[in-house]
Symmetry: C2
Subunit: 121 residues, 2 copies
Amino acid sequence: MFALYNSNITMIYSSELIKGTLKTIVLKLLSDNNRMYGYEITQKVKELTGDKIQITEGALYPTLHALESDGLLSVETEFIGKRVRKYYSLSTSGKQKSQEKISELADFMNTMKYLLDIKTA
Amino acid sequence: MFALYNSNITMIYSSELIKGTLKTIVLKLLSDNNRMYGYEITQKVKELTGDKIQITEGALYPTLHALESDGLLSVETEFIGKRVRKYYSLSTSGKQKSQEKISELADFMNTMKYLLDIKTA
DNA sequence: CAACAATGCATAACATTCTTATGTATGTTT
DNA sequence: AAACATACATAAGAATGTTATGCATTGTTG
């Protein structure tokens, strides 16, 4: 099940665009999904964006740790066979923060789309 | 002449959102306006976004210098009385690059809006 | 079954790109 | 004359990514 824009063209965004949006993406996915683990998040984002947004592990794991130490996420460690898996879910304050960040980013996207479309001449 | 979203609420975006979009914003304004100087760009962005996006000088001037040294912008220095003013305009390769960056950012915005709206449940 | 790819976590060195602070100078308004 | 706006510039520091590396387990394929 896919939902892609320009799925024929594989255009991976230049990385600097992702900056500043990663936390919000993570919070959004967790607000929709109740609980997810790190690797799952990277795959979900790839899937939902048709490979356009690829979250690197070097970015994701520190971000998850930061959100956790801010009290926005709680963690449950589980073992799948011998392999560790860490499930993250939103805390109460995480749910609050999640809504705020999503609203802010959505608003920002509208403003940016307006800025990009406008002819100021 | 204004065009604001939520003009009653002054919500300045948390700064990290701007990251990675500044070059594109500058290129976009220059593709619409033929030539502009630095201070003018900061004011135009403020005006167009209803104060939501405020470009700091510490970010803008280094960006203009970088775009210039990449050959994307050309400069003309003028004096208004005794005060210096540096007008920037797109070079030929700058016009090309401008279109590319605008397309990429517009596409990214669509993808992000999709990501934010979706219910993955 | 051996090799390779995928799953799953983690951290460190480095790069990029902002913010904040500071500096210099001229022009305008109260 | 003080304050604010215009107009440029740069440097120290913070934030947040990439790239590289490491380790271990599980699934797939020739």
